[in-house]
């Protein structure tokens, strides 16, 4: 295929290389917007309306947010994944290396957005959960902290992770030809943090009544957090991909050939 491509493309048609950073920057701005707004909302509504789950105002200010975000997230998940699948490239066996490289770079830039979303779930909102529950008496599974940690931050990176996975298997031949186990782990491991909430809530309801963060009922999150180490596997596969791809679009002097 590469040979065919070289034959077809005229030397004067070579466009200079440019990174397309727009989707990444927009993605990060949107994430900062969403997570910043959520943090502001917590500051505004948590102490006044979030201490007592039996209070009707709790329903107004917190449970409505919960149901709203759940509905939006389910819609977004199927929209993103569905769109990527429906608009898939049906001729990956006939893809020009230059387009392939552009796609790969875009995909990698969006991995930055995925990692950024994971930061909010794994670090920012996760540790904030400690301070909230160690400071107030927990009386529901849907606390002002959980509503944004489990039911917003986690779905956000799950949506992004699955979208990236589907982008890879529908637009990047290297990842479409065979499924990368590392990539599956990098997407599905963090995804499993959400179902682990079941263990967490069971533990808080029936097992350990007190609040310290290192309780064994939290270790499900730890286990699935480890899966992000498999990013190194994805990185190695990207290396192999680059070694396969770059020589098709550049010569030994580093100039673009297609």
């Amino acid at each position: 295929m590469a040979v065919t491509q070289n034959e077809v493309v005229q030397p004067q048609a070579i466009k200079p290389w440019k990174f397309n950073l727009k989707p990444m920057i927009i993605g990060m701005i949107i994430l900062i917007g969403i997570f910043g707004l959520a943090r502001w909302y917590q500051q505004w509504a948590a102490w006044d309306y979030g201490l007592d789950a039996t209070d009707p105002m709790f329903d107004v200010y917190w449970m409505q947010v919960f149901w709203g975000e759940i509905i939006i997230e389910v819609i977004l998940f199927f929209t993103f994944v569905g769109y990527l699948w429906m608009t898939r490239d049906k001729h990956l066996n006939n893809l020009s290396p230059r387009v392939e490289l552009t796609r790969l770079m875009l995909w990698i830039s969006m991995l930055v957005v995925y990692a950024f979303a994971f930061y909010f779930a794994g670090s920012f909102y996760a540790e904030q959960d400690a301070t909230w529950h160690q400071t107030v008496v927990r009386d529901t599974s849907f606390t002002p902290s959980h509503i944004f940690l489990f039911y917003m931050s986690m779905p956000v990176f799950i949506i992004l992770g699955f979208s990236l996975f589907f982008y890879a298997i529908t637009r990047l031949p290297f990842f479409a030809r065979k499924i990368s186990v590392s990539l599956v782990i990098v997407v599905c491991g963090p995804f499993m943090l959400l179902p682990t909430v079941g263990y967490n809530e069971w533990g808080h309801a029936f097992w350990l009544m007190e609040e310290y963060f290192t309780v064994p009922l939290h270790w499900g999150f730890v286990f699935f957090g480890w899966t992000i180490i498999a990013l190194s596997g994805v990185l190695i596969q990207v290396m192999k991909y680059m070694i396969e791809l770059l020589p098709q679009v550049t010569n030994s002097k580093g100039e673009l050939t297609s």
Partner: protein, 424 residues
């Protein structure tokens, strides 16, 4: 005419709805509880009972940042302590507030300082005192609280306290045993912490930039594959590594040396337990109460108890109060009981109606009497105590306050199964 007649009830309904919504907004906009309403009633009713609560400020009073608020009262640890909760041999007295909006200045149980945890005896009463110091402005609900090991927080009745002023004006100064004056406990030592974090972050950033300034990924991957380690890790890298290793170790040694000089006398975290004796048992068998039958009548939000009371005291007694999980039902025909209600006690925890007693006449010394107690209030619902009908243990616990003719109070426990009545 007909149409206007029809309109009137419709408008009335609308108006009623509007008023109801406004009332709901007013009540609900203020979070009375700190999550305790979702604790199972059978546990709340058979663990702690708080009474004789006094606050140094009125309900909804305004204090300034740095002002003190004192809570005092009695706390009764129920003798039929639920089996599924650990025995209260490790408990901690504190305050349920929205986080550290107040600083906990002093706490005492029967006069013993409660800076550490302690053990208590079920069936006994303790006097507690909690002194708080206002720190963060806002409208805060302030309760006393006991943390009980393996059970979590058990919250007492709370009042509203408004804190006015500026949080930046808050100071909490202490003097150490070594004579050092700490101007503000909240900022003490922070500068030193930040300084050392920055110094070490400087090392890390330097080391990372040292590597990141070179081509990183593709080149190095290929060089590794080539086995070209001389180019991957140069002699300069090695020299720098040795220099950094020596610097880090030297700096750690130096830092510890100056710390030893600056703080020659330190002690580890203190992990002991306080010892406290309970107050004398003032009942001491003078009034013996037995639960014969208890029912929760759902449509009327009423608890009906058939009780047998034996008066072994020297004078006649009358039942003046029934209290469970901070809810108080007062027999308004007993003056001493009415007098026992402190000003500013949270209204939502006081029953509007009088406590019903089927035979209100005084129980004479030596007499054993069976009578009905009727405690009715919507608070059974709002405080979610009626949810005991959904719990795996349909039992209840409460305190009965009897008053002698001389006005002396004798406190008794009552406990037993409670049966639901679902229909009229």
């Amino acid at each position: 005419m007909i149409s206007s007649k029809k309109k009137l009830p419709a408008m009335r309904i609308l108006l009623t709805k509007a008023i109801f919504t406004m009332v709901l907004m007013c009540i609900a906009g203020t979070a009375f509880a700190h999550g305790e309403r979702n604790q199972e009633p059978f546990l709340r009713m058979k663990t702690l009972h708080w009474y004789d609560m006094q606050w140094s400020v009125a309900n909804d009073a305004t204090v300034q940042v740095n002002d003190e608020v004192t809570m005092t009262g009695k706390v009764h640890f129920f003798s039929r302590w639920p089996e599924i909760i650990s025995w209260p041999d490790t408990v901690f007295l504190g305050n349920a507030t929205p986080g550290p909006v107040f600083v906990r200045k002093e706490t005492y149980l029967n006069g013993v300082p409660m800076i550490q945890s302690t053990a208590v005896e079920p069936g006994r009463v303790y006097d507690f005192k909690v002194i708080l110091k206002a720190r963060i402005p806002g409208r805060h609900h302030v309760h006393p609280m006991f943390n009980v090991k393996s059970a979590g927080g058990l919250v007492g009745p709370g009042i509203w306290v408004n804190v006015a002023g500026d949080a930046d004006d808050f100071v909490y100064s202490i003097t150490t045993r070594t004579g050092v004056v700490i101007d503000n406990l909240g900022t003490y030592g922070v500068e030193n912490v930040v300084k050392w974090h920055l110094i070490w972050a400087g090392f890390a950033v330097f080391w990372l930039i040292w590597w990141f300034r070179r081509p990183l990924i593709i080149q190095r991957y290929l060089l590794v594959k080539q086995g070209n380690w001389k180019e991957l890790i140069t002699n300069n890298d090695r020299k720098l590594a040795v220099l950094l290793l020596v610097s880090i170790i030297t700096l750690i040694i130096y830092a510890n040396d100056i710390t030893r000089e600056a703080y020659p006398r330190t002690i580890p975290l203190q992990g002991s337990k306080s010892e406290v004796d309970p107050s004398p048992d003032l009942n001491d068998g003078r009034v013996v109460v037995k639960n014969l039958l208890a029912e929760y009548y759902l449509p009327g939000r009423t608890v009906l108890i058939k009780a047998q009371v034996t008066n072994n005291a020297k004078s006649a007694i009358q039942l003046g109060e029934f209290t469970a999980a901070n809810l108080r039902f007062i027999n308004k025909s007993v003056p001493a009981a009415v007098k026992g209600v402190q000003d500013g006690y949270p209204e939502e925890l006081m029953a509007n109606d009088t406590l019903g007693v089927s035979d209100p006449s005084p129980i004479q010394p030596g007499e054993t009497r069976v009578f009905m107690i009727e405690a009715t209030d919507a608070a059974w619902e709002t405080e979610r105590l009626s949810s005991l009908l959904n719990d795996p243990d349909s039992s209840y616990g409460a305190l009965l306050f009897f008053y002698t003719e001389e006005g002396e109070r004798i406190v008794s426990e009552i406990y037993g199964q409670i049966l639901p009545t679902f229909f009229d």
